[in-house]
Each structure stands twice: as C-alpha cells, then as structure tokens.
C-alpha cells in the first residue's frame, strides 16, 4: 500500500516549520517519527496535500536538566528517552513505560512528542506524563505557551495543540527517588495495551506517602486514578492495603468496548492491574 501523493518539506527550524504550517494550513500534516502517521497514510485513511517533516530540526531533540524539572525535546526518539540517565533518575515512570512501548524498531524512529501529540488513548506515554504532572510547551505564530497535562488531552486523537502550532518540548517535574512501574496488559506482543497502569509512589519507612497513578485506554484520553491516589496516601505498602485502594481504579472512567474486551472487563482489569502496578512501584 502506497500513500496518496503529497508535497514534502523538511524545515531546519521551528520558525520555518510554523511558516510552512501557516502557508498550507488545513492541507498540511506534521510528521515527527511517522510510526503512527505513515500506516494511516498507507491505508489512505488520511491524504494531506503537504507533509511537514520535523526530523531535520536538531533543537527539538534531547533531554536536559532544568532545575526542578527535566525537559524532553518533542523529537527525541523513544529509544533515546528510554536510555537517558536523567529520565531514569528523575522520571523513572517514563523509563518503565518506554520499555514496553511498541517494539525496538518503532522505538528507534518514533518520538516522545509525536506519540503524545497523536493522543491515541491506547498510547503508552499519556498515562505516565499525566501521573507525573508534566506540562507541554507549544509554539505558534504568537509565541510560546505552556499547557498542563490535565488540559493537554482533549479527546480521542485530539490535544490542545492548535492547527497553527507545534509541540516543542515536555517538562516533567522531578520525582527523584520515587518507585515506579508500568503494568501493561496485552494479548499480542508489541501491541497497544487493552489496559495499562502507570504508577509512581514515594515510600517512607514502609508507608506510601504519596502516589500518582495514570490509566491507559480507560477512556478517550489518558486518566488519573484520583480515588486510588487518595486511598493510598498514608497507607502501609502491603498487599492488603494496596488491594483495597486499587478497588477504586475504575471510578470515573469510561472505557471502550471492542474486540479485546468490553467496558466491564476493562473496569475489572483496571483494579487488578493497578494493584500489581502499585505493589511493584512500592517494591512490596
């Protein structure tokens, strides 16, 4: 299968990319790593007249330390994020999630920002960045603005990024010393999760002082399991306490029904996977 014809431009700077976007507007689509977009183009589910490739913009790549946060460039490949020592130390939850994202070949090409901007509710990065309270730096013709993770994800495949804007970087508050685990339930290796849970916890002397939990594929956007977080705070890091808290995992969720399972199955799965994820994150 071959995509429909399009014109192609690979600007060398964000400014040039924004200019191309302004010129071609609705007829243009941005390509980052292309690991989700190219299959869509090949199946002709979308046929933009212009493809604007961000792959030549070096300033969008890399991870840096910025005081209380680490900053991940939107065009940083998953394989680089997954092996980055800053991410591993200060946002371990992202390291754990990237390990399970797609397969090695896709992790070499796919990018951190591209996956988040694609906003597939079954994507593996939304839940961890929401759990960690990340913020998104978005550049447009009028300058730069920052959007919280709670406001970034709008709906299925829809984010707060405007038609004339580009996601440039993701700022992740440091969670140094927090335990972390990403528990992913799949039927087929390297596929999207039926349900997955991103859990990171701060344990003090056997007690869960704080917990942050994100849910993958339990609604049209990545979700926070706020009721579980509240129930875990101050509890001992034991199987019984975590099981009781994890029973709240499906509260407020609207999971899809599809060939992999109906909504009730996913709600049950969320409680089981949350228990496993939190126990692993707490090292219990």
């Amino acid at each position: 299968m071959i995509p429909a014809q399009f014109d192609y431009v690979a600007p060398a700077s964000v400014e040039d990319a924004l200019a191309a976007l302004a010129e071609h507007g609705d007829d243009a689509k941005i390509i980052a790593g292309g690991q989700s977009l190219l299959p869509v183009l090949r199946m002709r589910l979308n046929a933009p007249e212009w493809i604007i490739d961000l792959g030549r913009i070096e300033s969008l790549r890399g991870v840096r330390d910025d005081g209380d946060s680490i900053v991940i460039g939107a065009m940083t490949p998953h394989s680089v994020v997954g092996s980055d020592p800053l991410v591993a130390e200060h946002a371990t939850l992202i390291t754990r999630a990237v390990e399970h994202l797609a397969d090695a070949q896709v992790r070499h090409r796919g990018t951190f920002g591209g996956a988040l901007a694609h906003a597939d509710p079954a994507g593996d990065l939304g839940a961890p960045v929401r759990a960690l309270g990340a913020s998104f730096v978005i550049q447009g013709p009028g300058g730069t603005r920052t959007v919280s993770a709670d406001d970034f994800f709008v709906d299925l495949f829809e984010t707060a990024i405007g038609d004339d804007e580009i996601l440039t970087e993701v700022r992740v508050p440091k969670h140094t010393g927090w335990g972390a685990h990403y528990e992913k339930f799949v039927r087929v290796a390297h596929q999207w999760p039926i349900v997955a849970v991103a859990a990171t916890v701060r344990v003090e002397g056997g007690t869960i002082a704080e917990a942050r939990i994100g849910l993958t594929n339990m609604g049209s956007t990545p979700l926070r399991a706020a009721a579980v977080e509240a129930a875990l705070a101050g509890q001992p890091a034991t199987e019984a306490a975590v099981r009781a808290a994890a029973a709240h995992a499906a509260e407020g969720t609207h999971p899809p029904s599809d060939l992999n399972g109906d909504a009730d199955y996913r709600r049950h799965l969320a409680t089981v996977i949350t228990r496993r994820a939190v126990l692993a994150a707490a090292g219990a």
Binding site: M1, I2, P3, A4, Q5, F6, D7, Y8, A10, I31, G34, Q35, L38, P39, L41, R42, M43, I51, D53, G55, S79, A102, D103, A104, Q105, V106, H108, R109, A189, H190
Partner: protein
C-alpha cells in the same frame, strides 16, 4: 520529485523520488535490493527491517525522503568479501528459519539486538525480537541462532552495520 542522496550497503546513491515513496520501495524497486522483503505492509511484521544510521527500522514505515543523507544497511550488505556475517552464519548453523520469508528482518533485528546487548538472556532475545513475526512460528530455532551468535562473540566480530 525530491532529490535524495544516501549510502546503501556501502555505495553512494542519488535519485529523484516522489515524497510518498517508502524506503522499502526505494530499496527494492530502484536499487533492486529485493533481499529486503515486504511482509505485512502494516508495520507489524518486521520482515522489511534494515539499519538506518546504525539502528534497526521497519523500512515500510520510513519515507525514502526521510533517509536523505543517511547510511542504510540491508541484509545484502551484511556479508563482507563473500563471508557471511556471524549472525547469518548462526541462523544457518541453527536452522533459524522455516520458509525463510521473515529471515532478512529477523537477522537485521538480531544484529541490532546484539550490537546493544552482546550477551542477551533468552527473555531479552524474545523481547528484542518482538517486532518481528515468523508465521511458520519457528521462534525456538531463531532464539537459538541468536544465542549461538552471542556465544560466538558476534558483536565483536564485525557485527556492526
């Protein structure tokens, strides 16, 4: 048409291509490198795996224009001076194939895996090859072939590509 120039299996090539041309099409239809095969056309199966600037990618999921300026190694560029690459040798030795269709991609991904992890456990091999499907289900001998190559020290025997 967009002008691209890249290095493929050690040779410099330059061509005018349609932006929509996939890297795998370019390799097969323009350069005649049919050793890289198209399996699923949905980026699931990994049969089309090549190395782009030293890293494994699914060449059905990369545009030829995105490879402009890059170095590509295909299954046809692994053997040196008529001598099979150690991973190719290991697949032959362990019979790491049945029908052989997935083999080019399996070998290219195995070389990438061993470049990153010269002594993988069996689980690490299976995880490292999760993006490559063998529809004959001949995975056991494929894993044995990678273990054999690792034991032979393939990554230090010129396995880089």
């Amino acid at each position: 048409m967009t002008r691209i120039s890249l290095t493929v299996d050690g040779a410099t090539v330059a061509d005018d291509v349609e932006p929509r041309m996939l890297l795998v099409q370019y390799l097969r239809e323009r350069l005649g490198k049919t050793g890289t095969v198209i399996g699923c056309d949905t980026s699931n199966c990994g049969a089309c795996t090549v190395h782009l600037d030293g890293q494994s990618v699914k060449s059905c999921n990369v545009l030829a224009v995105q490879a402009d300026g890059a170095t590509v190694t295909t299954i046809e560029g692994l053997a040196q001076n008529g001598t099979l690459h150690p991973v190719q040798e290991a697949f032959r030795e362990c019979h790491g194939l049945q029908c052989g269709f997935c083999t080019p991609g399996m070998i290219m991904q195995s070389v990438d895996l061993l470049n990153n992890n010269p002594s993988p456990s069996e689980e690490e091999i299976r995880l490292g090859l999760e993006g490559n499907l063998c529809r004959c289900t001949g995975y056991h001998n494929i894993v044995r072939a990678v273990q054999h190559a690792a034991a032979q020290g393939s990554s230090t025997a010129g396995a880089t590509s």
